[in-house]
């Protein structure tokens, strides 16, 4: 198993109250699988994805990523895991507007300490793979939504992570472009990457090998 969680809980302190968003999640994700996390808004699916992506720590419970208990790691180690083992794709793309597509794609390699020349080579390769060779020196604002998401996918892949996490990757795209993006994710999956996607589109969930359905902070077994 690539991922195994035990009784994962997460609470936020909001307006003087603790709000429990995740109320004990037990889940497993096989290496090489394509998993969809679905559920209505507010069910905690994004929070779960952020925990799986080591962007935040669970309040309680265990999270084993590739056998390592992530909840006890230092910031440095967590950053390293995010950098090497996890590729993020966001609904709002999260490209840095002042940088070119190429520079944006390079960011994970900059933080992994890769030499400049090699960085350029790798970034170009992945941008070519997602069909953006003609957009290398453009700024994000000069791209269409689909192109921005493809740039973000290239950026998620440059450090060759085991795990690709996508938070509503098609949420800001029309359905045709959205299905192109899903197609890219599927082909990544067939090349061996583990993909976890948060979505509330049932048609996207239908493409997945596994579906984890959340309702009110718990896994909905009846789904």
């Amino acid at each position: 198993m690539l991922i195994r969680t035990g009784n994962l809980r997460k609470s936020y302190f909001l307006n003087k109250n603790w709000i429990e968003v995740l109320k004990g999640i037990d889940m497993e994700v096989r290496q090489g699988s394509f998993t969809a996390i679905v559920g209505p808004s507010g069910s905690g699916k994004s929070t779960l994805l952020y925990i799986l992506g080591c962007l935040t720590q669970p309040s309680e419970g265990t999270y084993l990523l590739d056998g390592t208990d992530v909840s006890s790691l230092s910031d440095r180690s967590l950053s390293k895991i995010r950098n090497r083992n996890i590729g993020f794709i966001f609904q709002t793309f999260n490209l840095i507007p002042q940088m070119t597509v190429l520079e944006n794609t390079e960011i994970p390699l900059v933080h992994s300490g890769t030499a400049r020349k090699e960085r350029l080579e790798i970034s170009r390769k992945y941008l070519e793979m997602v069909g953006l060779s003609h957009r290398l020196l453009h700024r994000p604002s000069e791209l269409s939504g689909g192109e921005m998401q493809r740039a973000a996918i290239a950026r998620a892949l440059v450090t060759e992570p085991l795990l690709v996490l996508a938070d509503e990757p098609t949420g800001n795209l029309d359905s045709k472009i959205g299905s192109e993006i899903i197609e890219i994710l599927r082909s990544l999956n067939s090349s061996g990457k583990t993909v976890i996607i948060v979505t509330h589109s049932s048609s996207i969930a239908a493409c997945a090998d596994e579906i984890i359905s959340l309702r009110d902070g718990r896994v909905d077994e009846n789904h």
């Binding site: 962007l55 992994s112 950026r155």
Partner: protein, 395 residues
Amino acid sequence: MKTIDIFSLSVKGLNQSRFRSILSAVGIIFGVASVISMLSVGEGAKQEIIDQLRFLGTNNISVNSIRSNSDEGLSLYDSDRIQAALAEFVSVSPVRTVMGEVSYGGIDSICRTMSILPEYFEINGLSLEKGRFFDAADCRDKNMVCVIGAGVKRELFAHREPLGECLFFNGHCYSVVGHLKNINIPKSSVEAIKTHDVNRDIYIPITSAMSGNKDIDTISIRVSAEDKVMAAAGVVKSVLERTHGGTVSYEILIPRELLKQSFETRKTFSIVLVLISGITLLTGGIGIANTMLLNITKRTKEIGIRRALGATKNEILLQFLIESVLLTIAGGLIGIAAGYLSSALIGHYTQWHIIVPTKAVFLAFIISVGVGILSGLYPAFKASELDPETTLRFE
């Protein structure tokens, strides 16, 4: 992450808000420029004081007579008693000064005649251009000889050779045996310690001028060891008190002391000025901190993205710290240039002696780096502590 990449990120970051960065560095520029100008003025003043001290003699004591109706002032006896009391520790020369007309070959001039003992030349570090000083033998024999200052030579003899010529003054004819090198008088010395143009003095043996009159104007003393100057001054004081009783008929001037006081005054003054520069720098630092905080607010999302993609807290901290240090270093370098310029301008318009000390330039540079670190630390820490989940999900 490689150090060079952190630097290049920082430079790019500053570039994103170029105008704001330049504006925020203005405080540092002024602060550094004023620190440098203040220290340059101070250094110039210090150098000037050292020059004066050298001119007046670090080991000298001078006792001036104050004549009044009730007291006749100093006399040759005082000079002798001081010499006897301090024996081998000092050289002493009485001085009697007369302003008067001097003539040679039909040219008249007003000069100061100094009646002295030969020791006077050594006490005051006078050196000959040509000829000789008069000596103890001249004094004993009351020879009518004189040594003239460079100014007197210029005025009365122009380019002719004065040695052996006869100067007429005081009702007598004095034969010139030597003339002195020109003495450079420190510019501010004239008003600061009331020295007059010693190049216009004529020196004669005190014995040749004395006709029963024992009054003198000054006793010029040189103490052989630097650390005994104050002790010697104490002895001089008690010797004179004994002979003159309570009346104040003399004053004891110790150039070393006078200059020390003037140095202290200037030091206080320059401390105040440096404090003012310090406040400017502080304000500059706060300006930098403010700009950095604003930059971080504007770049919260970027920080979140970088954190998600593998930046550690330390890398974010370092990135913003380097940004603020680069900003202050740039400000500091411009400030150093501005400091040189303003020092030159101050020197030009005030005619003060200005020296830009190398250590001030280093100091300014170190201060710039220090201000950069101090003012960048809090914003950078704040940036590094931003929670990636919050910045990406909720903003």
